[in-house]
């Protein structure tokens, strides 16, 4: 057995163990920590399976945002799961039957890594062969994401936009105003404040690198947006939500949520005006490759704007809620 197969098996076993532990534990805080670990392991596995762009996204999401959102929810609801009251037999039977049916289905699948599998011979060879001449950038994933399948991505960005609006509609009415009371932040944590100040700069710089280096390495608007949002969230956590709101007002963030989608859609509209199909960037530059470069840059920027704004406004909405739990209930 090769070393690659062993890594593959070990990481999958880790994932299985973590998922099982999530199922077993009833302390929800432990569940949140385990789901952070689950995300770490799956990112390592994705790197192993050659999906570096996907691993990058999983890393950006799993390292900060999802843990923060889960913890914010726990702070507003409860930290313990009650023991199940109903019989577990029926769900177990259903799950086993479904599992066996699916395993039976895999027996006819092409084996892992087979170069002749149907998925490998259909569209992908065209993308791999033509990206260099048609788009002119080395990262095929970015080329497919922003250009060949730009319509899909526009749809995905719209979904993120819609989900962000949904969160705001559900939670915005309950955001609390401090009304002159003393706001406590982490004033006495000198070490944390200093290290955070040192780190915020590099995080923002790294986000810019990820945003504009997407043509050449793993990265792009989705990842960069989340990293940007992470920098604002870390600031809000350490220096207080009120200070963060002063730096980046909620109104401005909500405006940016829409601006990103508008920029993406607008780029498509410009190609309309030149008499080409929607989202055909070739008209934007002197020749096709230059046009594609500019189009991908603009579109990725729109994606980054929307993703970052949605994440920041979601965080504002969650952490601005009035905590219902008194100090003694814990």
């Amino acid at each position: 057995m090769s070393i690659e197969a062993i890594i593959n098996i070990a990481l999958f076993v880790f994932l299985g163990l973590t998922a099982f532990a999530i199922l077993k534990l009833r302390a929800l805080f432990a569940v949140v920590m385990l789901s952070a670990v689950f995300s770490l392991v799956s990112a390592a596995l994705l790197v192993h399976l050659d999906a570096v762009d996907v691993a990058f996204t999983e890393a950006a999401v799993g390292a900060g945002i999802s843990t923060v959102l889960m913890l914010a929810t726990l702070a507003l609801t409860s930290r313990h799961e009650k023991a199940p009251t109903r019989s577990q037999a029926l769900p177990l039977i259903v799950v086993f039957l479904t599992g066996f049916a699916l395993v039976y289905g895999t027996l006819d699948m092409p084996r892992f890594g087979d170069p002749q599998a149907p998925i490998q011979v259909h569209v992908a060879p065209k993308y791999i062969a033509d990206t260099q001449s048609e788009i002119g950038i080395p990262n095929i994933v970015t080329a497919v994401l922003a250009s060949y399948r730009g319509f899909d991505t526009l749809g995905e960005v719209t979904v993120i936009f819609t989900a962000g609006i949904g969160v705001l509609l559900l939670l915005a009415a309950f955001i609390r105003e401090p009304e002159g009371l003393r706001v406590q932040t982490m004033d006495h944590h000198l070490v944390l404040r200093v290290v955070t100040k040192v780190l915020i700069g590099p995080i923002l710089l790294f986000a810019l690198y990820v945003q504009f280096h997407a043509d050449y390495g793993p990265g792009g608007g989705f990842q960069a947006g989340i990293i940007f949002a992470s920098a604002f969230i870390i600031y809000a956590l350490v220096f207080g939500l009120e200070n963060a709101r002063k730096a980046v007002p909620g109104r401005a963030v909500r405006l940016l949520v829409a601006c990103g989608v508008l920029l993406y859609g607008g780029v498509g509209f410009v190609s309309f005006l030149f008499g080409k199909n929607y989202l055909n960037y070739s008209v934007l530059g002197a020749d096709q490759v230059a046009g594609q470069h500019l189009g991908i840059l603009l579109v990725e920027f729109g994606v980054g704007l929307t993703v970052a704004a949605v994440m920041v406004s979601t965080f504002y909405a969650f952490s601005g809620q009035n905590p219902p739990i008194g100090d003694e209930d814990w």
């Binding site: 098996i9 999958f12 994932l15 998922a19 999530i22 199922l23 929800l28 789901s35 799956s42 596995l45 399976l49 050659d50 999906a51 570096v52 762009d53 996907v54 996204t57 999983e58 999401v61 945002i65 889960m70 929810t73 726990l74 409860s78 799961e81 199940p84 009251t85 109903r86 769900p91 799950v95 599992g99 699916l102 895999t106 699948m109 892992f112 890594g113 087979d114 170069p115 998925i119 992908a124 993308y127 791999i128 080395p138 990262n139 095929i140 994933v141 497919v144 994401l145 899909d152 979904v159 993120i160 989900a163 949904g166 559900l170 939670l171 793993p218 947006g225 979601t314 909405a317 969650f318």
Partner: protein
């Protein structure tokens, strides 16, 4: 079925095990936050299924190096990359719903929510029990 078959299908089987753990968490646990975590496990297993299918033995990541190389399939990567971010946005929406449910019912356990609903609809819990029968 030889060793190569088992190794060749191992990824898909592990994906199915993860998927079933997530599924079981969703259907058997009453706590809404736990259900969302279960849904996330299910979602990650689907991601891994797509990425596993796109891998080619001896292939490398689909970023052109200039040398002749075998690249793994970039198409699943594109689909899953966007799906992860959409996934976190929809998770946030689900968690927002949980927070609102907590505000309205003062609990996030499914059966207690059901009981509260029954009480407002039928007056007392016993009548609801009879009605369901």
């Amino acid at each position: 079925m030889g060793v190569s078959d088992i190794l060749g299908l191992f990824n898909y089987w592990m994906v199915i095990i993860l998927m079933m753990i997530g599924f079981y968490t969703v259907v058997s646990r009453g706590n809404l936050v736990k259900k969302i975590v279960g849904l996330n496990i299910f979602q990650t297993s689907v991601f891994l299924l797509y990425i596993s299918m796109g891998k080619i033995s001896g292939g490398t990541a689909p970023i052109l190096t200039g040398k002749p190389e075998v690249y793994s399939n970039p198409l699943p990567h594109v689909l899953i990359l966007t799906a992860i971010v959409v996934g976190v946005a929809t998770t946030a929406l689900g968690l927002a719903l949980v927070v609102r449910i907590k505000n309205a019912y003062d609990t996030i356990e499914e059966d207690e929510i059901q009981a509260a609903d029954d009480e407002t609809e039928f007056g007392d819990p016993q009548a609801a029990e009879d009605h369901r029968r």
